[in-house]
């Protein structure tokens, strides 16, 4: 069975554990503190597009030294609002300049009736939504000039729809759009905790043949609303490592990203977490290399 990885990966595709590039880390990374310790850096193009000055200059210097994967925030693939063509044009230029094989964004909407709400908002899990998103993915891919991968999001309200669970919804979109999946195992775990579900059961519902990349992160408690918030504000829990391993045991080598957006510690501390995650990843990879058909789901 040919997987999305077979179709998208090339010699330059990084595998192993990388880190999400954040502005506060630029100086330390430029100083060489991460040299040889990261498989790649994942960058949010919106932070560097449409602006000048020191920040994009620093980023370009880093991109010459460490492989880059792009992951955006603002495609709003489920929105009814039209795409911003200028944004897509600039995004296309950005991903072309950094020679990424695919670009990823979230399966969500961010715009409502002309307002851009700057959040990743869940979509109804309906077949009509699937049709709408699939059509937008095709148009976005066409404008950006790169294949897209979509990321499963965390959400806090159960979204109505005839599709039974999030894996089925995401799978339908990936299949019909013929696109990749950026599988965020922390998002699945947060959803499982918030809805009282089994995280591995949710995970098993996702189409592993579509996975081209993974995200790993931590989350925090939001007591005011009695729920877990996917804020990437803590170290990833052991179960999230285990979920990542479960996937890698079945897919083989992948780029796996450690995300941190809140309470960001020093780069040295983040690199320790990257190293721990890399160890988990390599254990899973060793199991994948064993000739056990049990794990080979494609």
């Amino acid at each position: 069975m040919t997987t999305m990885r077979d179709r998208l990966y090339d010699r330059a595709t990084p595998t192993g554990v990388g880190l999400g590039l954040r502005g506060v880390l630029l100086d330390a990374i430029l100083a060489g503190e991460a040299d040889g310790k990261l498989a790649f850096l994942e960058v949010c193009p919106e932070n560097y597009m449409h602006r000048g000055g020191k920040l994009p200059r620093q980023f370009e210097q880093i991109a010459e030294r460490i492989p880059i994967i792009t992951h955006g925030l603002m495609l709003s693939l489920g929105s009814a609002d039209p795409f911003d063509d200028e944004y897509l044009r600039e995004l296309g230029q950005f991903v072309a300049r950094h020679n990424t094989t695919w670009h990823s964004d979230h399966l969500c909407f961010s715009g409502h009736a002309g307002a851009v709400l700057h959040d990743l908002l869940p979509l109804p899990m309906t077949r009509a939504t699937v049709v709408h998103v699939v059509e937008r993915i095709a148009r976005a891919q066409d404008k950006i000039g790169k294949p897209l991968a979509i990321e499963n999001i965390s959400y806090y309200v159960p979204m109505p729809g005839e599709l039974a669970h999030e894996g089925e919804f995401v799978g339908e979109v990936c299949e019909r759009a013929d696109c990749g999946l950026l599988l965020d195992v922390n998002n699945i775990y947060v959803n499982a905790k918030n809805f009282g579900l089994d995280a591995f059961e949710l995970l098993r519902g996702y189409p592993l043949d579509r996975v081209v990349q993974m995200h790993v992160a931590g989350h925090t408690r939001w007591d005011r609303f009695d729920m877990w918030l996917d804020d990437h504000g803590a170290t990833a829990e052991p179960i999230v490592h285990a979920m990542m391993q479960w996937v890698v045991e079945r897919t083989g080598p992948l780029p796996v990203l450690l995300e941190r957006d809140q309470s960001i510690p020093s780069l040295a501390e983040l690199l320790d977490e990257v190293a721990a995650l890399q160890s988990s990843y390599e254990l899973a990879l060793a199991r994948w290399r064993e000739p056990s058909q049990e794990f080979r789901h494609g």
Binding site: E46, H50, R51, G52, G53, K54, L55, M74, G78, A80, D84, Y87, F109, H112, A113, G114, A115, V116, L117, H118, D119, L121, P122, L123, P124, T126, A128, T129, H132, Y156, V157, P158, M159, P160, G161, N194, F195, W222, R224, F225, D226, M227
Partner: protein
């Protein structure tokens, strides 16, 4: 074709007044928004608080962004800012895909409302200019244009001068650039209303810089940035102020041009 659930959810995200009613009678409000019993049951399966949390997330993120980008102006508006932000999001909200451009969009919406508060003395007259100034500082730092390299050409009267592409002239009534880094709303400084022109630019060290200009210097820089030759800019600036170009003015202009080149306002002579 967008699902009725998505449309209703969007309204809940944006409208704080709706959320206040939602907390009291969620089914009634969601029915008002066109959702049938099955959709309402599913959305509310884990309590109405989950929907309210989304509204809080969206509003809090935008409010935080305003406070981060304009801390001093936002500190003046204090308790009234959240209410303004709620109204703004419900009415129109941001349209830029770049979070860093959202505060400027908010200011366009808030300006007439703040003008009223200024007219009635509720807010200091310089509130809007302070907000603009704080945004300008960040806008300069991220200006997409490069701040330029020094020109190799010799300065001459018949030549123009090359401006740092990020330079702009700001016309203000208050010297908000002189305000301290933090403001105590209980003891606000008094700024006199006047006519002020500032040169604003990103320097060679990527810092936002502001410099007040005397009237003749402002007229001169304005003409140079518009591409006039040094001769035309000098004569034009003097004429605009009803002055006659003489040796004193020429000497002053030479010193000023040298200072602007040192400060990276100008890059030297145009080629």
């Amino acid at each position: 074709m967008v699902d009725a659930v998505q449309l209703a959810f969007g309204r809940v995200l944006r409208d704080r007044a709706l959320v206040d009613r939602l907390a009291v009678d969620p089914h009634a409000v969601l029915a008002e928004l066109g959702l049938d019993q099955a959709a309402r049951d599913q959305l509310l399966a884990h309590g109405v608080n989950r929907l309210i949390a989304y509204n809080t997330m969206v509003h809090s993120r935008l409010l935080r962004t305003l406070r981060e980008f304009s801390p001093r102006a936002c500190s003046l508006v204090r308790d009234r800012l959240p209410g303004l932000v709620h109204d703004w999001i419900a009415e129109c909200g941001p349209s830029s895909l770049y979070l860093r451009e959202v505060p400027g969009e908010f200011l366009v919406w808030a300006r007439p409302r703040w003008a009223e508060a200024i007219a009635t003395g509720e807010q200091p007259a310089w509130l809007i200019e302070l907000f603009e100034h704080e945004l300008e500082q960040r806008a300069l730092v991220r200006d997409p244009r490069a701040s330029g390299q020094p020109s190799p050409h010799e300065v001459g009267l018949e030549r123009g001068m090359l401006g740092n592409p990020t330079v702009r002239l700001l016309h203000r009534e208050f010297a908000v650039h002189r305000l301290p880094a933090t403001l105590d709303p209980a003891a606000l400084p008094s700024l006199e209303r006047g006519t002020l022109v500032l040169a604003a630019w990103r320097d060679r060290n990527d810092k936002a810089r502001f410099a007040p200009l005397r009237a003749r210097h402002a007229a001169l820089l304005e003409r140079l940035l518009a591409g006039a030759s040094l001769r035309d800019a000098l004569f034009g600036a003097c004429a605009a102020l009803g002055e006659t170009l003489d040796d004193t003015i020429l000497g002053d202009a030479a010193v000023t041009l040298a200072q602007w080149c040192d400060d990276h306002v100008l890059l030297g002579a145009a080629g």
